[in-house]
């Protein structure tokens, strides 16, 4: 019955289905100096909350679905996309990212339906990056082609490890062999637009085993690699096992070494690090993720999705941090009742927006350039904010931070300890913006016009 409904849906959609056969790799990625784009453009994140099983390390918003509710989810994702696009009044969606959960469990027609909704309301270029996160299972692999037809032009594959033992410990539902096959199929379909996720700092992992695993991966991977350090999250099975002494994770110094070696190895293979955990060759960066780090607007659709945009549709002038309702069943009900499931809206003040721009921007190796900063902070330049602080000067002198004609950024060494520098940068930002505000007020008082 459900599949029949989906077939009906397909027929309804097929005339309008976007054809994305001529995708160029590394489409135009504008520098975004045009501040009009700040509110006119947005990227779109779509959250698929379901997984087949629970990974032992994951505390993400995901649910093991008991029944197939594809039709309902599809309808609700469409409705919410429509409602939030309207609210944001953006004219252009620059990229779409289907994350989860396990979005490769969604029906390709669901993906198609959402893209159709976007294209029906705003401009969505054929060149626009559309990424899907994929679990490298045989089921996932077999559907990649259909996802391409639906409009996906970039795959991000959750390989995590090439050791079957470790995949078991992590509670993953695939083997290393299946992962290799999935990568191969994805590369066949979207050459140059496949990313693989790998995880280090796994239980019992050594620096040497990590290095050899990474070289294995480099033989088969495409042009994009994301490296994640395993973080023990409260409430996960792995956390309990490590707490209870059943498992142990490598010490801080060991994971630091793993990170540095991986950076070096990837660099030697032509992968340029462009963010703390992201590496690309042939300029195959993730445009969608770049737009987060560049402080662009994004709209989050689906249970628990986050967004950052100005709700122009209801007369808003400030950017808001928005969170959708977490539990899928409740979210579905809310979307059915009022068109969207936005649970929380927090207006971001000027300083808070700058804080996010700073924190996100500094994660990129290119950092924050003066023009980019000026777009968010026309009154107070990077040099004015950070140029006088003694602590920042020490970061500069020790070579961890660079502030020059291009802008502010971390050095190679600095990037690894960014989180130690950010508090100092934030303190400075807060101090300088409030000082600026005070001096402006004083000037106004002395010059009452």
């Amino acid at each position: 019955m459900i599949s029949r409904t989906l077939h009906a849906l397909t027929r309804a959609l097929s005339p309008g289905l976007r054809r994305l056969s001529h995708v160029s790799s590394g489409g135009p990625i504008e520098d975004g100096s045009d501040s009009a784009h700040l509110t006119g453009h947005a990227s779109l994140y779509v959250h698929w909350p379901y997984c087949l099983r629970r990974c032992s390390y994951c505390n993400f918003n995901k649910y093991i679905s008991r029944e197939n509710n594809d039709v309902m989810m599809t309808e609700c994702l469409r409705r919410e996309t429509d409602a939030l696009l309207q609210l944001s009044q953006v004219s252009c969606v620059t990229s779409v990212f289907f994350g989860g959960g396990t979005p490769s469990l969604a029906h390709p027609l669901t993906i198609a339906a959402v893209l159709e909704t976007v294209a029906g309301r705003v401009s969505l270029s054929d060149e626009a990056e559309v990424t899907l996160e994929v679990n490298p299972t045989p089921e996932g692999k077999s559907r990649l082609e259909e996802f391409c037809v639906a409009g996906v032009n970039r795959f991000s594959i959750g390989v995590q490890s090439l050791q079957d033992e470790d995949l078991k410990i992590l509670g993953r539902d695939h083997s290393s062999h299946q992962a290799l096959q999935t990568i191969e199929e994805a590369r066949r379909l979207r050459p140059g637009r496949v990313s693989v996720d790998v995880m280090f700092g796994r239980p019992e992992q050594s620096v040497e085993s990590w290095e050899s695993e990474l070289s294995e991966l480099l033989k088969v991977c495409d042009d994009h690699v994301s490296l994640y350090q395993l973080t023990l999250e409260r409430g996960t099975q792995l956390f309990r096992r490590v707490q209870g002494g059943e498992a142990s994770v490598p010490a801080e110094d060991v994971t630091a070494e793993m990170y540095q070696r991986a950076r070096t190895t990837l660099h030697q293979h032509g992968f340029l690090q462009y963010e703390v955990s992201n590496f690309a060759r042939h300029n195959a960066v993730s445009h969608h993720n770049m737009s987060y780090w560049r402080g662009r607007q994004y709209i989050g659709v689906g249970p628990g999705a986050h967004g950052r945009f100005v709700p122009l549709g209801e007369g808003g002038v400030d950017r808001e941090a928005r969170t959708q309702t977490l539990e899928p069943d409740v979210w579905i009900r809310e979307v059915q009742q009022r068109g969207h499931g936005t649970r929380r809206r927090i207006r971001l003040g000027h300083l808070e927006l700058l804080e996010e721009v700073l924190v996100m921007g500094m994660r990129m190796t290119e950092g924050i350039n003066h023009k980019h900063w000026q777009m968010f902070s026309p009154q107070l330049g990077l040099r004015e904010v950070f140029g006088t602080s003694a602590e920042v000067r020490e970061f500069l002198q020790s070579g961890r931070l660079v502030l020059d004609d291009r802008g502010l950024r971390c050095s190679w060494d600095g990037l690894a300890v960014l989180d130690s520098m950010l508090p100092a940068l934030l303190v400075e930002l807060e101090r300088e913006t409030s000082r600026k505000l005070q001096s402006d007020e004083q000037r106004e008082r002395s010059d009452p016009r």
Partner: protein
């Protein structure tokens, strides 16, 4: 059963024992001690209490009883005070009445009484109405100064003993305070069963029957003792007074004997426990007075007040409390200096036992060196500054007042005396100019079950203590007397004693003068740079172990930073201990996309707040708590 023995002790002293909660056999035991059942019409005096205006002239001195409650810490004096307030209708009887007299946030959080509070109760006994003035006192050894002040305004005390814990070190100390002041003492056994308030009525009866009325005549000229004072932001000084003679009314012009300044009485009344204005106060009564004292120094505790035209002989007043623990206090940021100054001024008005001296340090800027009665006293003061005045302060490692006998004639001339007192370790004079160093000693009393005797003796030995006496006070419990160097018990002795005896041991001490000691100055260096604020004075025999302990402590309390930090302890130029805090190599959160920003920002905000509580020493960030934590020992 040792519990029986304490009753015997009291009965031998021929004091009346009142049983608060009712076990029948105890009641029978003590009915022979003269406690009679008296019927009271509670409703009548309750309705009397709620009358809007109170005519205090109805209460001549013989209808007044002034008493306080003293006890070992946590023996339930604040709870008994709550029940007494409820029974006399001063507060409504609800489940929520817990520590009504403990007004300070720090008191409620820690479950202790820091500041003595006063409450006037109306009580009807044998057809007569009485005014009972209750002063709730702190229990901890650090606050005994408040206890002795309260006692000066009273004619009797309720001495509470927890039935389960029996007599404790502070029970003995407080007993002697009251005994020496020749007050009537009513022992009360508390907590025999739950806090139901059974037999509290009998406590009130005993207060009327056994405590003498104040010897004060309304015909004498007005004469009052300032036994406590508070600072009110809007009204200035609110002084608590006990009238030793005469009467006072609104509009009277009164004189402070200490300063000779004249004031006009703006407001006066009873504390029930909230301020309750009345027209007059009469001889024997206790209440508050507001007389336009604006400066915090105008209401000296222990001062005598009299009417402008009728000077009287001053009351004896109080010995100033002796500060035994000194520490530097500095604002987090120098811009907060004026705010912190006024907060300290106001807080020291409510707590005159704190001594204040201006001080400054290289790393911390301008601040003060404050003297306290003990470490709890210091922690409470610090907490009150933060909670009541919203002031964030850095407290440096506490030290005791050492003395040095100078040998250099130049220095003797400079100081004007041969003997100097050192309250700041950074100013400790070098051995070459000193003939002898002296350290303050205390005479400590420890009471504990004999199962812990061995452990306690080892602890005391480690603290350079000399045993003076040891007796069994019953078949299980031992009272030990030791002579301690004060610096050995200042920081963590009490906590350790408590934890190693599962809370059963109790401790009290009194000053025992000074003794010669082989003292040296120990510096702490961060990356080779001496940190003046962490300099300590140690006994030569203890130098290595305390240097090592301090370095370990610092290693634990200073977070890893982007560079390696060497933590060293040094005597002169000789390094005697070292710890290394390794540099961070990587601490960047691996993953940060659109859905992670909110969480990431929250985390960073917390780090920013934490960072604001850090102090930069050289290029090392040191959390402000490190300055005090560094002295706590593990033993």
């Amino acid at each position: 059963m040792h519990r029986g023995d304490y009753r015997t002790i009291y009965l031998q002293h021929s004091y009346i024992l009142i049983v608060v909660t009712g076990q029948q056999w105890l009641l029978q035991q003590f009915s022979s001690a003269g406690v009679a059942d008296i019927d009271i019409d509670i409703n009548r005096f309750l309705s009397f209490c709620v009358k809007e205006s109170i005519d205090l002239s109805k209460f001549p001195a013989d209808r007044i009883r002034n008493f306080c409650i003293i006890a070992h810490i946590d023996h339930g004096k604040s709870t008994l005070a709550d029940r007494l307030l409820e029974m006399t209708g001063a507060i409504a009887k609800t489940e929520k009445n817990k520590q009504v007299l403990d007004k300070l946030q720090v008191e409620r959080e820690r479950g202790i009484t820091v500041k003595a509070q006063t409450a006037s109760l109306f009580y009807s006994h044998e057809g007569e109405q009485y005014l009972l003035n209750l002063i709730d006192t702190p229990g901890h050894v650090d606050f005994s100064y408040e206890v002795s002040r309260s006692i000066s305004a009273c004619q009797g005390v309720l001495l509470i003993v927890d039935a389960n814990q029996g007599v404790q070190a502070q029970t003995v100390a407080n007993f002697y305070l009251a005994f020496e002041a020749q007050l009537a003492i009513i022992p009360v056994i508390n907590k025999i069963s739950a806090k139901l308030g059974t037999n509290v009525e009998k406590v009130l009866q005993a207060v009327v029957d056994r405590i003498p009325a104040p010897a004060a005549s309304i015909d004498d000229p007005f004469k009052a003792l300032v036994f406590d004072s508070n600072f009110d932001h809007y009204r200035g000084v609110v002084a608590n007074i006990a009238l030793f003679g005469g009467q006072v009314r609104k509009g009277d012009r009164i004189v402070s004997a200490h300063l000779g300044k004249t004031y006009e009485v703006n407001e006066l009344g009873l504390l029930r426990p909230d301020e309750h204005p009345t027209q007059k106060l009469f001889a024997g009564q206790v209440g508050y007075i507001i007389a336009g004292m604006k400066d915090v120094k105008e209401a000296q505790i222990g001062d005598t007040l009299y009417l402008q035209e009728q000077p009287v002989e001053s009351l004896p007043g109080f010995k100033p409390a002796k500060a035994m623990v000194f520490a530097g206090m500095y604002p987090m940021d120098q811009s907060e200096y004026p705010g912190l100054r006024s907060a300290i001024e106001r807080l020291t008005l409510n707590d005159s036992s704190v001594t204040v001296q201006r001080d400054s340090s290289l790393a911390l800027g301008a601040g003060w060196r404050l003297g306290f009665l003990g470490l709890l006293h210091m922690e409470v003061f610090n907490q009150r500054l933060e909670q009541e005045y919203n002031a964030s302060v850095i407290v440096t490692a506490p030290t005791v007042p050492y003395k040095a006998i100078l040998s250099s004639t130049r220095l003797i001339k400079e100081h004007g005396s041969e003997e100097i007192t050192i309250v700041n370790p950074a100013q400790f004079p070098d051995k070459s100019v000193v003939s002898e160093y002296l350290e303050p000693m205390v005479f400590g009393t420890i009471l504990a079950p004999d199962a812990y005797t061995g452990k306690i003796m080892t602890l005391c030995l480690n603290r350079r203590a000399i045993q003076k006496n040891m007796v069994y006070i019953d078949d299980q419990r031992v009272m030990m007397k030791y002579l301690f160097p004060l610096n050995e018990i200042v920081v963590d002795f009490y906590d350790l004693l408590k934890s190693m005896s599962s809370g059963y041991a109790s401790f009290d001490y009194e000053n025992a003068g000074y003794q010669a000691a082989d003292l040296i100055k120990m510096d702490i260096l961060l990356n080779g740079r001496p940190v003046e604020e962490l300099t300590t004075i140690v006994h030569r025999d203890r130098a290595y172990s305390s240097g090592k302990a301090m370095c370990e402590r610092l290693k634990d309390s200073i977070p890893r930073q982007m560079f390696e930090i060497a933590v060293q302890a040094a005597i002169g130029s000789k390094v005697i201990a070292r710890e290394t805090i390794k540099a961070y190599r990587k601490n960047v959160l691996a993953k940060c996309y659109g859905g992670d920003i909110t969480r990431k920002m929250k985390l960073l905000k917390k780090q920013v707040e934490g960072k604001k509580k850090m102090r930069l020493i050289g290029n090392v960030q040191v959390p402000k708590d490190a300055f005090i934590d560094v002295l706590k020992r593990k033993d």
